[in-house]
C-alpha cells in the first residue's frame, strides 16, 4: 500500500518535470537526469562491460532524450521511452564497433555444447556463490550478443518479442541465445569458484600473504 502511494506521487511529479523540461526549465532537466541516471548507466555498463564507454553512452542517451523531449506526448511512460532510447544508443554503438550481435541464423542445436554436469556430485550450490561482483564480471566476459540478450531479458525485464524487435531477430533466436548466455554464465561462475575438486573450499594461508 505504501509503495503504491509512493509510486503515484512519483509518476505525477515526473509528468510535471517533463512538462517543465519541455518549457526549457533547467532544473527539470537536472531532476529528470537525477531520477533516471542510475538505471540508464547501469544498462549501458552491463551491455558494454566498460565504464568509460558506459558513461559516454549515458551522456549520449540523455542528450538525445533531452533534445527530443518536446516530441514526447505521453503515449508511454517517460521511463519506458528513455530506456528504449538508451538501449538503441548502446546497440548502435556496438554495431559501429563491429561486434557481433545475435546471429540471424536460425538456432542449430547440433552445435550446442554439452551441458556440464561435473558440478553435481556434491552438495555445492551456486546459490550461495552468485555474488554481485562475480556476476558482474561474468556478464562482462560474455560475448556481446549473449550479453545483450541476457541484460535485456534477465536484468532489464524485456520480453523476447521486444528483444526480437530491438535486435531484428526471431523470438526463437532470442530464447536460444538467452539460454546459452545463462549456461555460459553458469560455467564461468562455477569455474571461478576456485580450485575445488574435493568439494571443500580452498583456504588461503593463515600467514600474511603478499601479492
Amino acid at each position: 500500500m505504501s509503495q503504491q502511494k509512493r509510486a503515484a506521487p512519483k509518476a505525477a511529479s515526473e509528468t510535471q518535470l517533463v512538462a517543465r523540461a519541455q518549457q526549457g526549465e533547467e532544473e527539470a532537466f537536472a531532476a529528470l537526469f537525477e531520477m533516471h541516471k542510475r538505471r540508464v548507466y547501469s544498462l549501458c555498463l552491463r551491455m558494454t562491460g566498460n565504464t568509460a564507454e558506459a558513461e559516454d553512452l549515458t551522456q549520449e542517451a540523455f542528450l538525445q532524450l533531452f533534445r527530443k523531449i518536446s516530441t514526447f506526448r505521453g503515449e508511454s511512460a517517460f521511463s519506458t521511452w528513455l530506456h528504449r532510447l538508451a538501449v538503441n544508443v548502446v546497440l548502435m554503438h556496438l554495431r559501429k564497433k563491429g561486434l557481433q550481435q545475435i546471429s540471424l541464423d536460425e538456432v542449430d542445436s547440433s552445435q550446442d555444447e554439452p551441458v556440464k554436469r561435473d558440478y553435481g556430485d556434491n552438495d555445492r550450490r551456486l546459490m550461495g556463490s552468485v555474488d554481485r561482483i562475480s556476476l558482474s564480471q561474468a556478464i562482462a566476459d560474455l560475448p556481446p550478443g549473449y550479453r545483450t540478450v541476457f541484460v535485456l531479458h534477465d536484468i532489464e525485464g524485456y520480453e523476447h518479442n521486444e528483444i526480437a524487435e530491438i535486435m531484428n531477430c526471431s523470438v526463437g533466436n532470442s530464447k536460444s541465445q538467452l539460454h546459452k548466455a545463462r549456461m555460459k554464465l553458469r560455467d564461468w561462475l562455477r569455474q571461478n569458484e576456485g580450485l575445488m575438486t574435493s568439494g571443500e573450499p580452498v583456504i588461503s594461508d593463515q600467514a600474511p600473504s603478499e601479492r
Partner: protein, 230 residues
C-alpha cells in the same frame, strides 16, 4: 563415463532438451520431475534459478558526476534552457547540488559552459600540435581519455591558470592546503598517464586518471571561490 561425466541417461538428454522451455515458463513438466530424481540435473536447474535471482538483484550503478556536467554543458550550448530571471533563486532551488556536488563543481560547470559558448580551438583526437578548430559538440562528446581528453584537460588548464594568477590573495594556510592537494593530484595524473602509455588497456589507471582530473577541477574551482569573496 562420457566427457561430461556422471552417467548421462536418456532422461537426462531429454531434460537438457526441455530445460530452455522450462526456464522460459513454458509447459515442460518433465524437467522438474526428472530433477527430483537426478541430483546432477537438479543442480543445473538450481544453478540457473539462482543465477536468474541474482541477476534481478543486481544493484544500480552510479555514473560519475561529470556525466551531467557534460550533458548540461552541451544543452547550454544548444540553447535548450530557457532564460532564468533570478540567478540566486535558481541555485538555491537546485537541491541535488547541495549534497552530491559541491559548489566548487558548479563553478567548474560555469567555466565549462563559458568555454563552450565561445569559439575555441580544441585539439583533434590523435593530434598533439598544432591545435585546430572543432565544433564544440564533437569536442565534448566523449569522456574516454584515450579518444578525446582535450575538453577536460582544457578546463583544468584554464582553471589552473586562473588559480595561479590569483593564488597570492589566498590566506597562507589555505593556499598551502590547496597546493598540497594539487601536488598530490598532479603526481597521480603523471603516474596514471605513464601507466597508460605502457598499458593502454589498464582500466584502473584510466579510472584513476579521470578521477584525478575531475578532482583537480573541483579543487581549483573551490579555491577560486575564495578569491571571488564567497
Amino acid at each position: 563415463m562420457n566427457e561430461t561425466g556422471h552417467g548421462r541417461t536418456a532422461a537426462c538428454y531429454r531434460f537438457e532438451q526441455e530445460l530452455q522451455a522450462y526456464m522460459e515458463g513454458e509447459d515442460a513438466a518433465f524437467v522438474p520431475a526428472h530433477a527430483r530424481e537426478c541430483a546432477f540435473c537438479r543442480v543445473i536447474v538450481e544453478d540457473l534459478e539462482a543465477l536468474r535471482a541474482a541477476a534481478l538483484a543486481l544493484p544500480l550503478e552510479e555514473p560519475s558526476p561529470l556525466v551531467w556536467s557534460f550533458v548540461r554543458a552541451q544543452l547550454l550550448d544548444d540553447g535548450t534552457f530557457a532564460e532564468r530571471a533570478n540567478f540566486g533563486a535558481w541555485f538555491r532551488q537546485l537541491g541535488w547540488l547541495h549534497r552530491p556536488l559541491p559548489v566548487a563543481t558548479f563553478a567548474c560547470l560555469v567555466v565549462l559552459g563559458c568555454l563552450l559558448t565561445v569559439p575555441r580551438n580544441y585539439p583533434k583526437p590523435g593530434n598533439t600540435s598544432p591545435i585546430s578548430t572543432l565544433p564544440a559538440r564533437s569536442a565534448i562528446r566523449s569522456m574516454a581519455f584515450m579518444r578525446d581528453s582535450a575538453t577536460l584537460v582544457q578546463v583544468v588548464r584554464e582553471l589552473e591558470a586562473t588559480f595561479r594568477a590569483r593564488e597570492g590573495s589566498l590566506a597562507p594556510d589555505l593556499k598551502a592546503t590547496y597546493e598540497n592537494s594539487l601536488i598530490s593530484l598532479d603526481a597521480s595524473i603523471r603516474e596514471c598517464s605513464d601507466s597508460l602509455e605502457r598499458e593502454p588497456d589498464n582500466s584502473l589507471a584510466h579510472e584513476y586518471l579521470l578521477a584525478a582530473y575531475s578532482q583537480k577541477a573541483e579543487v581549483l574551482s573551490s579555491a577560486l571561490e575564495f578569491d571571488e569573496g564567497r
